[in-house]
Symmetry: C2
Subunit: 318 residues, 2 copies
């Protein structure tokens, strides 16, 4: 269970290894959204995304024997970079299994952090089975992207920081893929402020969490087409889904076009780079998907790792 003890231990364990990211506001965005919006800038986090929180907490909790064996992760991007960086700092061997169509910038960054990369064909192989086989063959410890209490406890530190910095938030929104960021942030936020209302946000073409939330059980969808490459998970996590069911008021969705317009707004008006996945929650606010009575809105900008090709496309579509 994701207890407050686990979260507090995570805070201590990772404090010196992550940034306490700043919270930004924008008068222009407030006017456009009709609300007071606070952005927790995890795009300015180490390795460019919130993922370093969970990865650092997990890897620094390993036994000496596990550390000697090394670790493996499967990820199309930000989790890979986070595990590579946290692993390097813990002096642990890191293998990352990546789909062969992963964004180039994320592959290069993961390699720069010193990880060995093994590619697989996303259309032919099951990524989880591929990574599990690899882990067994090489006796490596798996660092899962979200279905792990230590990972969730790490992500929860983001929610605690946010509420400490802006105590009068009446709701908090995060992008949602496997659900690790949402489950962590909502747990952390509700611990500090039980009445806070929490909303995960997905692309409308990748709405596995919304479908699951409405049906009351985990629903799998086919590989979803969306510009938000980090939100292409096809089914909510085993550990995260019950937390989402309990803590989410509703699951919101946004279109790719809304995401693109939001990236442009944040880039040209706020001078911050966010990746498509990282802009989903902001898009929900900018395009008025929230109930009217919510006025002090917390939004996690979850990451900023964008390929120059993708950014060029975003800028061209004006």
């Amino acid at each position: 269970m994701l207890t407050i003890d686990l979260i507090n231990q995570a805070r201590e364990r990772i404090a010196s290894r992550i940034h306490r990211t700043p919270v930004f506001t924008s008068r222009l965005l407030n006017e456009a959204a009709g609300k007071q919006v606070f952005f927790k800038c995890e795009n300015l986090q180490r390795a460019g995304a919130f993922k370093i929180r969970g990865a650092t907490n997990k890897i620094n909790s390993l036994t000496d024997d596990e550390k000697r064996r090394g670790i493996v992760a499967f990820s199309s991007g930000n989790h890979a970079q986070a595990v590579a960086l946290a692993g390097r700092e813990a002096c642990v061997r890191v293998l990352v299994a990546m789909p062969d169509d992963a964004p180039k910038a994320k592959v290069a960054a993961t390699r720069d952090y010193g990880a060995e990369i093994i590619f697989y064909d996303r259309t032919k192989e099951d990524r989880e089975k591929f990574a599990l086989d690899l882990a067994e063959r090489e006796r490596l410890v798996m660092v899962p992207p979200y279905d792990d209490e230590l990972i969730l406890a790490g992500q929860a530190t983001c929610g605690m920081e946010f509420l400490e910095e802006v105590p009068d938030l009446d709701c908090v929104l995060t992008p949602c893929s496997g659900g690790g960021l949402f489950a962590g942030v909502a747990t952390g936020a509700k611990h500090l402020k039980p009445g806070i209302r929490c909303f995960p946000v997905e692309p409308d073409t990748a709405d596995d969490t919304r479908q699951s939330f409405l049906k009351g059980e985990r629903v799998s969808i086919p590989p979803p087409p969306t510009i938000a490459d980090g939100l292409r998970v096809q089914v909510p996590g085993r550990l995260t889904f019950p937390i989402i069911q309990k803590l989410a008021e509703d699951v919101l969705t946004v279109t790719d076009d809304e995401i693109i317009q939001t990236i442009r707004f944040i880039l040209f008006r706020m001078k911050l780079l966010v990746e498509p996945s990282g802009a989903a929650a902001a898009a929900a606010v900018l395009f008025h998907k929230l109930p009217d009575d919510l006025k002090h809105v917390g939004v996690v900008l979850s990451g900023g790792n964008v390929d120059s090709e993708v950014l060029a496309r975003v800028i061209a579509e004006s």
Copy 2:
């Protein structure tokens, strides 16, 4: 004269109307530069650049009679936006004379802040004379971009903040156009730390300040071709040049290609948007133009207002 009293008055006058901008660092950039670099993020300043400091100080120092008459500024961009915003907040009529090839984003933003815009032909008309005629005809008060003590005192507040936040800087670099930012920041910085070494930075094709500095008198150059649209001034200011002569150790220059690569580095690695003019000082550090013995380097990222066309070009040139 730009006295410390003027600067302290400016700080009080503008404190509630500007952001105390954050100072960012980047491990990756430190490695690339071989120095510890601190970035004062004036790209995150109100209206997207440091210019709001001087404009706010000047406009809020006007007499009631002057405020009733209204103000005029000539500027291709950031100064215009700053005067428009500061003027609106002081409830003053604002006219801005702009060249008809000014960046679209800057024209639109200036208009959004409520200013009236009058275009002139940069190749046929002298901008200063054009604005002076306009001021006389409409009985407006001129708010000059740099040759004014109250403007310089406003920009100096940026240097004071920087040294207060990072007291152990051994040098500070700013982009240099008319010299207002450099003269202000160097004066403010040297007041707090007399031994600090100060460097203005120009595009190598727009090196009027470097030529003037070497010759010991103000040199005019033809309209310079450079991507840094804010640094196209053709001669150092009358008020700023003696300050530059006194406080600059050397005038550094960078190429357009170095500026472009620096914007890309800051965008993709640090997730911050800077405009070409705003990246000039950072480019000097990233491309090793500083003496080797300088280790704690302060860099002003002076602005972040970029047209999407210009940014698309910067991203494409990889």
